[in-house]
Amino acid sequence: MADFNLEVRNLGAAYGRHVVLKDVSLRLPAGEWFALMGPNGCGKSTLLDCIVGKLAPLSGQIRIAGHPLLTDSANARRALGYACAPDRLPPLLTARQCFEVHAGAKGQPTIDDTVMALADELKFLPYLESFVDTLSLGTRQKLAVLLCLVGDPKLIVLDEAFNGLDPASSLALKRHLQWRLKNRGATLILATHALDIVERYADHGALLLDGVLAREWTKSEIEELRRNGRGFEAALVDDGDANPPGS
């Protein structure tokens, strides 16, 4: 049993000669909602791409639920749930076929009841036989999130996953994620610009600036921000002034 669902050590990444991430380290225990914040182009999506194995890092190590991503890729990926961008979903497959492929790839005989219950709560079940191509952006976003939860992942990676969701679905998803962190020992890493979500739901937050983790907030610090009403917006602006991008 691993103590941490995600361990990132001294991670570096680049696109060609353009270095995006420099010496990033993270340790996320089970049951933690981690919010990754930062301005556009700071490297949030690159960090997530490295974690889910879409991009090969220049340096450093990544372990998911105790399995090294590089050397024990199959087990690491089995413990990983990643909600891809809606435009990455296969346009000519039905939503049901997407579920079947995800379950088949993760060696699951059927879809977990909790995922089907969430699909029902998100009003997604009527679209199960629809082709992805015919779904609206918000419905595709729901499908991407539901697919990421197939196979009871230990590490859930969401990149701006609440964009395009209606308020009721957004709330249902947040509650489900909280339940999953508490009862299934999962860890959530969410890259977002929605500071209200961070204030209300996150246990741990970090600000990525120019490829380095410029600032981290612990659970008690987030609670303090919430309590004194100062909020993340002011905290981030203060940090941004202290470390302006490109300085």
């Binding site: 090969a56 590089l70 379950a103």
Partner: protein, 338 residues
């Protein structure tokens, strides 16, 4: 007469050029039709007489068909107009019920009137031409019976119940409902990956693309060719096109599938087997059809089979190499892993 007057003014306020076309085009077509029918009657009186006799023998059938068409058209228009009537500006005008009803009926029965006009157009011209040349009244009787059919159909349409209006469609996402008990839970399987390239192949065969491909083929057919040969040639090129489209579909779909499935614990060999086997099986069917069509065109059996095998081999090699190149590109981006 507000309802009828409104309908007339709507027509009157249209673009004058369009209005002129609506008046003069039917007249021009009518005279052209009379002239063509006269020429045809003069050229082959016996054939025309037998055709008219055949129509006359089936008067009951034609009048029944006309009655059904008339009933459906009037009924549909009635349903449409009645759904729009409460929102129309004439709804607020003070009109007594009887007057409103007959005016609405006049507007609703426009399709029947148009049908009567069309019958008059066809049979009037034909009757005139035939009467001048052949002195037979058969088309007049057919015209009368079909006209009666149209009138009876329009009258019967008022006996049909208009469709009920639905305020919110059944699967509206804004209507809260419980999960349907019959929704079967998806079962883990990778078989859907096999159907994706085939769907992509059919999706790429858009009607406009097919038309663009077909026109040069038809133009290239030498004069004097038989229709059967042309059909077989088009079939042969379709089979070859299907193989080419399938190769392209497998390559493009495998690139998308690898990007989508990258974070999943899926072995490249597993993905290749699931994606390539159905595509290669379809290619085998297409090349078998190709061999058969080549044989139909008159080639010896062995040569036909050799052509099919050659196409299959080239298609299979391109498909597999294309897949491997895409796999390699994705794998190198992900640091040597799928």
């Amino acid at each position: 007469m507000p309802v009828l007057l409104t309908a007339y003014l709507v027509w009157r306020n249209r673009d004058p050029q369009r209005r002129r076309i609506e008046i003069f085009l039917p007249l021009a077509l009518f005279f052209a039709w009379v002239a063509a029918a006269s020429l045809y009657v003069r050229a082959d009186r016996a054939a025309v007489a037998s055709t008219l006799e055949w129509f006359h023998r089936h008067d009951l059938f034609w009048s029944t068909i006309t009655a059904i068409v008339s009933a459906v058209l009037v009924s549909r228009r009635r349903a449409l107009i009645r759904s729009e009537a409460p929102r129309a500006w004439t709804a607020v005008l003070p009109m007594d019920r009887a007057r409103a009803r007959w005016q609405a009926m006049a507007v609703e029965s426009v399709p029947a009137v148009a049908l009567l006009g069309m019958l008059a157009f066809i049979f009037g011209g034909l009757s005139a031409a035939v009467f001048l040349e052949a002195r037979t009244s058969a088309p007049l009787i057919t015209w009368a019976s079909t006209t009666c059919g149209a009138l009876i159909g329009a009258a019967l349409s008022y006996l049909l119940r208009p469709p009920r209006q639905a305020e919110v469609y059944e699967d509206s996402r804004y209507v809260p409902r419980r999960r349907r008990a019959e929704t079967p839970i998806p079962i883990g399987s990778l078989s859907a990956l096999g159907s994706w390239p085939l769907r992509q192949m059919f999706a790429s065969a858009k009607p406009r693309t097919l038309a663009r491909v077909l026109v040069p083929i038809l133009l290239a057919v030498p004069l004097g060719s038989q229709a059967a040969d042309v059909m077989v040639t088009i079939g042969l090129l379709t089979a070859l096109g299907a193989v080419a489209a399938l190769v392209a579909a497998v390559i493009s779909v495998s690139a998308r599938a690898l990007r989508w499935l990258n974070p999943l614990p899926l072995e490249p060999a597993q993905l290749a087997r699931r994606m390539l086997v159905p595509a290669l099986a379809s290619m085998l069917v297409a090349t078998a059809i190709e061999s058969w069509l080549i044989w139909v065109l008159g080639s010896p059996v062995m040569r036909s089979i050799a052509a099919g095998v050659l196409t299959l081999t080239v298609g299979a090699i391109l498909t597999v190499f294309g897949f491997l190149i895409v796999l390699r590109a994705n794998s190198s981006a992900a640091g040597g892993r799928l």
